[in-house]
């Protein structure tokens, strides 16, 4: 029961240059330095990454305790934000 003091870290990996870091998973580590090394051993054993971020899980603020809620509703009733909302006569090009 000696792991208790090791906080949880979220791991983000950039798989190659030109792409953004993506959440890969999480791990326990005593500090940031160890978290980075453990993340390398755990999530990039086959060259899956060229860069790693580790973030204490406790430092992440999430949108809401529930994954689907009115927080995202304002986006739902604005179809005119999508290009497919507009009717363009056939034959018009480059639009």
């Amino acid at each position: 029961m000696t792991n208790t003091d090791w906080p949880l870290w979220e791991v983000f990996v950039r798989s190659r240059r030109g792409l953004s870091h993506t959440h890969a998973g999480s791990l326990h580590a005593p500090d940031a330095e160890f978290a980075l090394r453990n993340a390398r051993d755990l999530y990039t054993r086959r060259g899956e990454g060229v860069s790693i971020w580790v973030v204490p899980s406790s430092a992440i603020t999430a949108s809401s305790p529930d994954e689907k809620d009115p927080f995202f509703e304002p986006a739902a009733d604005k179809p005119y934000r999508h290009p497919t909302f507009y009717e363009i006569p056939e034959g018009v090009k480059h639009l």
Binding site: E10, L27, R45, S58, A62, K68, D69, P70
Partner: protein
């Protein structure tokens, strides 16, 4: 459209704060083949089933390191040694992916390890068999990892998001495990008569325990029906076992080895291989703790944990000292709430 319906159902649940509505929203999400994520409402029994299954799975990965690590120092070549070390390291990694995923359900790493060490949670009974010869490393890769892959590929579509994501990663890596085992047996099969006999002996010993890995027959499987309804499980034990047998027979032929079952033959009508009865008494005995290596595996696991305690404590002490000096940002052990 099913997806939109599920979202609407969730919205309704929030408005009414009615427990029944939450349950209907959960059922709708599962029915629509959506994934359940850590902060979603879920039935207590669903959560408990997942913790039990994922814990057992994680424990199997790290206990499974033992029978193979047994041969690292005696691998016949540097090539084989490097491969085996990479494989055993992968098993550790798989355990860690799964422990992390299980922790999103509100349990902790310490609690899970504690339950393994005290025997309150199980690991796959296959790892209670000994690795007697080098050929066992091959048989484990081909048959045990092969059976595991057959079981695990459908788990990539499991209804619980973090479990499914861990399985995608694991399945990608398992493929190397199975191929290295097959190649190892192929090399022995093409070797001296003694090497060939050693390969055959290993296959003889691992074949039936591998078939038992799929669990009891469908009509005796305690958790199957509910897990299928929840889409934690996608296929029945017997269905997966049959799939595995059908895959293995031609593979054994290519190896030039036989499978130790006189009843094994192609059934034209069913379009599958028939196979003989499985000795479920043996399975239950091993499960109860009376397998050849149950005691040894747990003892070694506990010892590794205890002997590693000073490393964990030193690292924590160093981190605490460093943090108090630099006033580094919060390093509380808080989990769960923010898991994506």
């Amino acid at each position: 459209m099913a997806t939109a319906a599920a979202h609407q159902a969730y919205g309704a649940a929030e408005d009414t704060a009615d427990a029944g509505a939450y349950e209907r929203a959960f059922d709708a999400a599962v029915a629509a083949d959506e994934r359940i994520e850590p902060r979603d409402w879920m039935p207590d029994a669903y959560r408990a089933t997942l913790v039990r299954q994922m814990a057992q799975h994680a424990h199997s990965e790290i206990i499974g390191m033992q029978p193979e690590a047994n041969w690292i120092t005696r691998a016949p070549s540097l090539r084989r040694k490097a491969i085996l070390m990479a494989k055993v390291q992968d098993e550790a990694g798989h355990g860690l992916y799964l422990y992390s995923a299980a922790e999103t359900l509100g349990t902790s790493r310490d609690e899970l390890l504690d339950k393994l060490h005290s025997g309150r949670q199980k690991y796959s009974s296959i790892f209670n068999y000994p690795t007697l010869t080098w050929a066992d490393v091959g048989a484990i890769g081909w048959l045990v990892d092969g059976a595991a892959i057959t079981n695990q590929v459908p788990l990539c579509r499991c209804s619980y998001g973090p479990y499914a994501r861990a399985m995608v990663r694991i399945c990608k890596e398992e493929s190397f495990h199975q191929r290295q085992g097959y190649e190892l047996l192929l090399a022995l099969g093409r070797g001296t008569p003694e090497q060939r006999a050693m390969a055959q002996d290993a296959v003889n010993r691992w074949w039936w325990p591998s078939l038992m890995m799929f669990g009891p027959p469908d009509d005796e499987s305690a958790h199957s029906a509910q897990s299928m309804t929840w889409k934690i499980k996608r296929h029945s034990n017997d269905e997966l076992r049959q799939r595995f047998v059908d895959i293995c027979v031609p593979q054994a032929e290519s190896l030039g080895l036989t499978l130790p079952d006189p009843d094994l033959r192609w059934n034209e009508e069913r379009g599958h291989y028939d196979f003989g009865p499985i000795d479920w008494t043996e399975f239950k005995e091993v499960l109860k703790g009376n397998g050849p290596c149950n005691e040894q595996r747990l003892t070694q696991r506990r010892r590794a944990h205890e002997e590693g305690a000073w490393v964990r404590e030193s690292a924590a002490a160093y981190a605490a000292k460093h943090t108090s000096r630099t006033g580094e940002a919060s390093r509380s052990g808080e989990t769960g709430a923010t898991r994506a």
